[in-house]
Structures are given as structure tokens and as C-alpha cells.
């Protein structure tokens, strides 16, 4: 019962957060961590994933009705979703998205259920060299898949890795880079940084930017039904989007955003009427929205099986599980399988709850999107301050959150991406441990890593990727006289 309530509550909060501009799923998940402490690791994981998942549903509502993406993953839905709304087909778009997201979510959960235990079993054979090689591959992919140029993403990843070194070294107990501050002895906690970057930064942007009241498309309940043609055109994009999203979720980076762009591009390419895209093509709405829901579940696989978060929300989930003394990874399926399987069951039910919530309440959610920042900003700011203080009763954490919020505001203006920093910071300790243990295993000769097939495989992919980028860059930018 507690797990079901956690699922419902998480999904509801997530949907509201997805609708609201400003607070995104990452910040909301970080803010809800104190609540999850009351209910155990399983309920906590369910609630937090429900928030992430629900935000994907909610983001599409405002994209379609208001032409404002509630989440970055719903940006692409604005292209055709709002056009459908302008043609009087808002209800149909919302229904198709809700049903498509439900199907994608169900398929995603099925994929998680099938692949996660298998990968968990395979990951038991991973040692420090395999983890090190995998991290190198992950950081490289992350830098190339985020929206910023790779050099900026790599720089932010490096800074995140550096921040992860602050505090006591776990192997030698030497304090590093604390500069005499006792508060830094245990390092900089992840939660205030996440809240600052993803919560306070958004709030600061809302506060300083000029607000333009959106024009909202009205919708009546009886207009929710799509016609036969719309249903027919949405079936295959739903399944294609589900598959694309699930596998993109396995890749480091903003998987929900990337999956929507790939799905949209694919649907447009294979469509018999590509000229309809941008003017209300059903495929352009349903495919991406299915993809982003499925991507959430795909990204759970590296988190649960390897203990490696590939996206910022996954990093919060990892932090949440660690707060409950649960370490995700290959041993999760051996030591605490009930957590995984209860989570799977709850997600099936939660998926259905979101379908039931979103359709009848769509008018209410759309209204929430039009709440003005002058009401939202004060409330959300104070909730962030109290929320982060309540985790450890630490004033230092609140200062860290404020500092992160201010820095995040400027990072956004300077076009330096934040997600690579967060992932670098979270993966830093694991990366360092793998690095040092690998050096000790091979007695300083890192070339011996190629004797480990799995690690060698990852590094070969890294080398191929780098060579391909260099060659592509050389040919693409070759001056005309050399062609």
C-alpha cells in the first residue's frame, strides 16, 4: 500500500512539475529525498522514478496546449503538438500522447525487467579495469551527445571530477582541497549542488526574465477522442519511439531529450508525407513522446545493474538509494532483489495511474502551466531552502545550494552545460577508485588493460570514436582546393 501511494504521489508531483516551467524533475527529485527517508528504499525509488516519469507526461501537456515545453524533452512536441491544437485537435493529441506514453512505458518496463537481471549478472565479472574503461567511454559519449560543443562538455565533466576529489581520500585518509574548511572534510554533498543547479538556477532565470503570458488552447473533455485515421497513424510511431527511447536511455547524456530528436527525425524521414511535419503531423507528436517515456526506463538499467547514472535524474536516484544504505549495482539482484521486483511491479501500476490521471485532469494541469512566476518563484524558492536544510540540518548545505544556483545561472548564460558536471561529480569517486585500483593491479602498466577483453572492447570503441571524429572533422573542413 505504501509503495502504491508512493507511486501515485510521485507521478502526480511529477506531472505537475512537468507542466510548470522552472522546477524540473531533477530538482524536484532532489527536493523530495527527505520525504523518501520516511518510507524505505523501495518506496523512495518508486516515488522518485514516478516524479521523473510523470514529468515526461506533464511536459507534453503544455507543449501541446500552450506551446511552451514544460521539460526539455518536450521541446520537439511543440513543433507538431501545438499545430494540432490550433487545428482543434488538442484533445486527440493529448489522448494519443497519453496512450502512446503508456504503451512506451509498459514496453520500457518489460525491457528493464528482461535486460536488467541479465546485465546485472554479466556485470558481476566487471572489475576495476572494466569500470575504468567504461567510465572513459561514458564520459566521451556524454561530451558528444550533450547539446554543447564537446570541449565545453569535457571541461565541465573534468570540473565535476575535480569536485568529487574534495574531502578525505578514502584510501589514504588525506584531506584534499579543503583549504582548512571543516565543512569540506566530507566533501561537497551532491544534493545541494543538484538543487542549486537544477532548481535555484531555473528559479533565478524565471525571476529575471520578462514573463509573457501564454495563450492557452481551450479543451473540452468530449474532444479528447482521436479519429480513426489519427489512431492508425500513431500505432507504429509509438512502437518505434518506444524502442528508440529504450536504447537511447542506455547511453550517457540527456537521454530523454536525445531520444525525442532521434524519433522525430526518423518519423519525418520515413513518412510518406514529410511536408506535414511542423504542421500537425500525428507521428511527430506520438513518436517523440513515446521515446522520452521509454528512455527514462532504459536509463534505469545502467543505474540498477552497474550503479552508474548516465543522466542527472539517475544521479539523484543513486543519491537517494545511497541515503537508504542501498548500493545499486550487480549485487543488488543478489542482496536485495525485492527492491528491484517491487519497483517493476509499482512502475506497471504507476504507468496506468499516469494514463488515468492525465486524461481527465488535463484541463487542470494546463491551467497550472499559466501560473505566473511572481506566485511561483517565492514559494518554490523557500521550499528549496527549507528542503535542502532539512536533509542534514546543515546551513552550509544551503549556502552551497545558493552558490550553485548563482554559478548555474551564469553557466547557462555562458553556454557551459551543467549535466556533465553533475555526472562527473557523482561518478568521480568511482572513477578514481577504478583508476587507482587498475594501476595497482597492473603495477603501473596501463597497456595491460588490453588483456582484459571487456575493458579492451570499451577502449577500442573509444579509439574508433576519436579517430572517426578526427577523420570526419578533417574531411568535412577540408579546403576546396584539396578536395
Amino acid at each position: 500500500m505504501v509503495n502504491l501511494l508512493a507511486c501515485f504521489f510521485g507521478a502526480l508531483i511529477g506531472t505537475i512539475v512537468g507542466v510548470l516551467p522552472g522546477l524540473g524533475p531533477t530538482a524536484t527529485m532532489a527536493l523530495m529525498l527527505p520525504f523518501t527517508m520516511q518510507y524505505g528504499p523501495t518506496a523512495g525509488l518508486i516515488m522518485l522514478t514516478g516524479v521523473w516519469y510523470g514529468a515526461m507526461y506533464g511536459g507534453s501537456t503544455t507543449s501541446i496546449l500552450v506551446n511552451i515545453p514544460g521539460e526539455a524533452a518536450s521541446v520537439i512536441t511543440c513543433l507538431d503538438g501545438y499545430q494540432m491544437a490550433k487545428k482543434g485537435r488538442a484533445g486527440a493529441a493529448l489522448t494519443l500522447v497519453a496512450v502512446g506514453s503508456f504503451i512506451a512505458g509498459t514496453l520500457g518496463i518489460l525491457g528493464l525487467q528482461l535486460f536488467a537481471p541479465l546485465l546485472g549478472q554479466a556485470a558481476l565479472s566487471f572489475g576495476p579495469p572494466e569500470y575504468l574503461a567504461f567510465m572513459i567511454l561514458a564520459f566521451l559519449l556524454l561530451s558528444n551527445l550533450s547539446e554543447a560543443p564537446p570541449i565545453r562538455s569535457l571541461l565541465m565533466t573534468g570540473l565535476g571530477l575535480f569536485v568529487g576529489t574534495i574531502g578525505v581520500d578514502s584510501m589514504t585518509s588525506i584531506t584534499r582541497f579543503t583549504f582548512g574548511f571543516d565543512n569540506l572534510t566530507l566533501g561537497i554533498d551532491f544534493l545541494p549542488i543538484a538543487m542549486g543547479f537544477f532548481g535555484l538556477t531555473e528559479i533565478l532565470c524565471l525571476a529575471v526574465e520578462t514573463y509573457v503570458a501564454p495563450a492557452i488552447q481551450k479543451i473540452r473533455f468530449r474532444e479528447l477522442y482521436p479519429n480513426r485515421e489519427e489512431i492508425r497513424r500513431s500505432v507504429l510511431p509509438t512502437f518505434r519511439g518506444s524502442i528508440i527511447g529504450f536504447f537511447v536511455g542506455l547511453v550517457p547524456g540527456p537521454c530523454t531529450v536525445i531520444s525525442t530528436f532521434i524519433s522525430y527525425a526518423l518519423e519525418k524521414r520515413i513518412s510518406k508525407h514529410p511536408e506535414e511535419f511542423g504542421n500537425g503531423a500525428v507521428e511527430g507528436v506520438v513518436g517523440p513522446e513515446s521515446a522520452n517515456n521509454s528512455a527514462v526506463l532504459g536509463s534505469m538499467i545502467p543505474l540498477l545493474t552497474l550503479g552508474i547514472p548516465f543522466a542527472a535524474p539517475s544521479a539523484v536516484l543513486l543519491a537517494g538509494l545511497r541515503l537508504h544504505q542501498v548500493e545499486p549495482g550487480p549485487l543488488l539482484f543478489q542482496n536485495a532483489p525485492e527492491i528491484f521486483w517491487t519497483f517493476i511491479a509499482a512502475m506497471y501500476i504507476g504507468n496506468f495511474m499516469l494514463l488515468v490521471l492525465n486524461l481527465p485532469l488535463v484541463g487542470i494541469f494546463a491551467r497550472i502551466a499559466t501560473i505566473k512566476p511572481k506566485f511561483l518563484v517565492p514559494c518554490i524558492s523557500i521550499i528549496c531552502l527549507v528542503g535542502i536544510y532539512s536533509v542534514r540540518n546543515s546551513i552550509f548545505d544551503v549556502w552551497v545550494m545558493i552558490a550553485a544556483g548563482v554559478i548555474g545561472f551564469f553557466l547557462r548564460k555562458w553556454e557551459l552545460p551543467i549535466a556533465p558536471f553533475i555526472i562527473g561529480m557523482v561518478l568521480g569517486p568511482t572513477t578514481e577508485a577504478s583508476f587507482r585500483q587498475t594501476l595497482m593491479i597492473f603495477k603501473g602498466n596501463l597497456f595491460l588493460i588490453f588483456e582484459r577483453p571487456v575493458a579492451a572492447g570499451f577502449l577500442v570503441v573509444v579509439l574508433i570514436f576519436i579517430v572517426a571524429k578526427v577523420v570526419y572533422g578533417a574531411f568535412y573542413h577540408r579546403p576546396p582546393e584539396e578536395a
Binding site: P34, C379, W414
Partner: protein, 151 residues
């Protein structure tokens, strides 16, 4: 090279260059060890070597690019600083005056910063927020927040 950059952006890239140099200087003091037995300073040193060329490259390209105007206009800067001031006020006074009163005051300040009209609406929003905080954190979650003079 075609994109423009803010002055603050150039300064930030330079600061990161300096930070990476500082890391390279400080890391050996933690002990680099050997490759076969790495010390606490080897990994941060490697990270510093990684960050330095990236940050230097971005700094140089920002110097070569045309300069952008400032990030915030006067009104935006005032709102920004006032917002931070309200948050700082909450942090500094909450442990002593208690969260109910300080939350009420800070929310009220934020409402006025956001130009919420009149006095009644900000007061109602502030009181509502303070009540919500009490019900959620204190009453439901039993989280011990400082109550100050309310005891």
C-alpha cells in the same frame, strides 16, 4: 571563433585555467606515489592535466571572439541581487529567529521582489507558504527545524 562571449565568461575561463594550475601545484603535496602504487595526489593531478588545455583553449577563443553586452540589465541585476539577498537573509536569521517567522518574512520579500501587487496578496502567499512548510516538514515528516522564539 564566430560566436561572441561575455566579459564575465572570459574571466570565468581564466579562473578555471588558474584553478587547474593550482590543482597541479597542490596535488603533489598529497603524494603522487608511483604508477604501481598511486598516491592521493595522482588522480587530481591527472584531472588538472585534463582540464588545463581545455580551459586554456576556451579562454583563448573567448578572447578572440567579439564581446557581448552584459548578461543582466540594471533591472535584472537588481532583481537578481535582491533575490540572493532574501535567500541570504533566510539562511542567516533562520537558526536564531526560527523558520516560521523568517519563512514568512523571506517569502514576503520575494513576493515584493517579483512585483506582486499590493500587500494582501503577498501576505496571504507568505502565510500560506509558511503554513505549508510547517504542515509538510514539521507536522507530517517530523523534521526538526529551528523554531526560534516560538520554542
Amino acid at each position: 571563433m564566430g560566436t561572441s562571449s561575455y566579459l564575465s565568461e572570459r574571466i570565468a575561463h581564466f579562473v578555471i585555467v588558474l584553478l587547474s594550475i593550482l590543482m597541479m601545484i597542490l596535488s603533489p603535496s598529497f603524494g603522487l606515489g608511483t604508477l604501481g602504487k598511486p598516491g592521493a595526489g595522482l588522480y587530481p593531478f591527472a584531472i588538472a592535466l585534463f582540464i588545463f588545455p581545455l580551459s586554456l583553449s576556451l579562454f583563448i577563443s573567448s578572447l578572440r571572439s567579439p564581446k557581448k553586452g552584459s548578461i543582466l540589465n540594471r533591472e535584472g541585476a537588481r532583481t537578481f541581487l535582491s533575490f540572493i539577498g532574501a535567500c541570504a537573509f533566510w539562511i542567516m536569521t533562520m537558526p536564531y529567529l526560527g523558520y516560521p517567522a523568517v519563512t514568512l518574512l523571506a517569502t514576503f520579500f520575494l513576493c515584493k521582489i517579483m512585483k506582486l501587487e499590493g500587500w494582501l496578496k503577498p501576505f496571504l502567499l507568505s502565510a500560506g507558504t509558511a503554513l505549508f512548510i510547517y504542515l509538510l516538514f514539521d507536522y507530517w515528516l517530523y523534521i526538526d527545524l529551528p523554531r526560534g522564539f516560538l520554542g
